[in-house]
Point group: C2
Chain length 341, copies 2
């Protein structure tokens, strides 16, 4: 069985975007707009149509089984609006993910976004995490280390302001994937430099802070192959050493996993040469940042199963990466596949 | 011959730091402080002492010959003070580099920093570039894509505000190394996440803007192994393709070079597997971000020559990386080694 730990609902029916557009229009008129949560009319058939020709077809074609599925990352848009609108939007997005997983419990397991907002307290995010995990069977959460959308003006992950969220993640026994949303800063390209920069930034915050010592049970997934981290693993080992920190392996590998969203063979080979197989989770992020077919291979760039299949791995290590590690990191996954609430 | 294209004067005599401390104290009292350029009393013997036991010893031990030497990157501190104090500080730093190269013309060739300042016009930087190249024989310049020190609130590199600098770089036939300075934003660790994030960010700006089309002769060096770029080369190829841009190789490889400041064998192997040898420049950044000895190898992390020596390269490609490419990218290097004004 192959579990893909990183997929977003990038193909959601149009009514979801229309809800957000209306919310944004109201916010343009009044930045303090609250409004009401309201409803979004999406039928089960519309959900099926949105997935059958996309994620489900690609799962079948690529021979992957179960995707840990969360709302579209670039649409989380925590920098937009305020804590109230972020909450309503987040609740709808998460509830739609729950519906996807109810329709296709063998294909998808739910991961939530959080109602973060620049400068806002983390407690509403803790509340939504509990609602999703305890009330709706979610197995993990995406945590945005920069709700500003590329201005990086909030507290780093080691700051105590985040600690209530880590306490809840540990208590609920679900991991956090560190994942920013769209960049609204013209310096950054969302899926090119912002995602990868945020992955690297978050990792360095784990290295320099007391976070992992304070939460020894916390499990963190760094997506997109860990940003720049595995490629520069020697640099990070050396920096930790120069700072008098414990050896990097000891410091982070009990708590941190890297996914395989690296879209070429040489990159995957580097990841697997550097990071122990116990700390790698299979992922593709399809349908996601890169949708084209690589003319050098004739296959989709994000068909990462091909790279992992072709990598020099033992069968045991490949099984860990494809399935066993995900079951350890996401223990709320049902033993047989997806999860039911 | 081995040319190291990336070294900073991280061991400068104490008087340099004392000058900066005094300037910063005056700025603390008055953010609009201008002051005078003044003088910094450093003797030739002090310069010799600062280098003999450090960069020069390491050059000898590692068997490298010539270092393209610029002021300490983390001390550029463009976010500190104002355009006036940045100018005085920059002039002193560059003049000190000139003195180093006069004392050791076979070991060092000069690369300048620029008097950038948040929100300031680029013209004073053009002026200092001309002073350094035309008046003092410098062969390249470091350009900071984020003078704010980690708040990224200025124009991206594709913005027309930068164009006078690119015009001068082309006219003077010197390359720019993209290199941020210290982060003053607590979200970023200077040499861990800020440097690598900035490298990736700058590269993506080259991919998405018209800069390289507008300046086909411009030569850009992305340091620290290109940040996350080679590791994610498939992602960047796919993003360029999805955006309808030319193939990534065509788009950037006529103008962009990556250095070898990647501090472990697997990372260097990835770099060299992905990026053509014509676009790789040998570099170590010693004495720099990582100063320790890797217990796994018994050698300094930043002894990058060992990794390049051990890599699967043809002799021809190794010669390109060690010397020939640097002579193409930095044509103002004297044919015999360093440069004289």
């Amino acid at each position: 069985m192959i579990i893909d730990c990183h997929g977003h609902y990038t193909t959601a029916p149009a009514a979801l975007g229309e809800y957000r557009d209306a919310q944004r229009a109201a916010l343009d008129a009044d930045p303090d707009h609250v409004g009401a949560k309201g409803t979004i009319a999406i039928s089960d058939d519309e959900i099926r149509t949105s997935l059958e020709g996309a994620q489900l077809r690609l799962q079948r074609e690529r021979g992957t089984d179960l995707t840990l599925f969360s709302p579209r990352a670039s649409w989380m848009g925590h920098h937009l609006g305020n804590a109230h609108t972020s909450r309503f939007w987040t609740e709808h997005c998460n509830e739609l993910i729950r519906r996807v997983c109810d329709l296709y419990p063998d294909n998808f397991a739910p991961v939530c976004q959080l109602p973060q907002s620049p400068g806002a307290r983390i407690e509403p995010s803790v509340h939504e995490l509990r609602r999703c995990v305890e009330g709706m069977g979610f197995v993990g959460a995406n945590v945005n280390p920069d709700p500003s959308g590329g201005f990086w003006d909030g507290p780093p992950l080691g700051d105590r302001a985040w600690y209530p969220l880590y306490e809840a993640l540990c208590e609920l026994d679900v991991p956090a994937m560190i994942h920013v949303s769209a960049a609204c800063n013209p310096q950054f390209h969302t899926t090119g430099s912002h995602y990868l920069g945020a992955d690297t930034t978050a990792f360095m915050q784990l290295v320099t802070s007391d976070l992992l010592a304070d939460f020894p049970e916390l499990r963190i997934v760094i997506p997109h192959g860990g940003g720049a981290v595995p490629y520069h693993w020697g640099r990070f080992r050396g920096l930790a050493q120069d700072m008098g920190r414990p050896p990097l392996d000891e410091l982070v590998l009990g708590n941190v996993w890297f996914d395989t969203c690296v879209y070429h063979q040489a990159g995957i080979d580097c990841l697997l040469a550097v990071i122990p197989a116990d700390n790698v989770l299979f992922a593709s992020e399809m349908v996601g940042a890169v949708r084209g077919i690589d003319p050098e291979t004739g296959h989709h760039y994000d068909d990462t199963r091909r790279y992992v299949d072709a990598a020099a791995l033992s069968d045991d290590d490949r099984t860990k990466i494809f399935e066993a590690n995900a079951r350890r990191v996401y223990p709320r996954l049902g033993a047989g596949g997806g999860s039911a609430p």
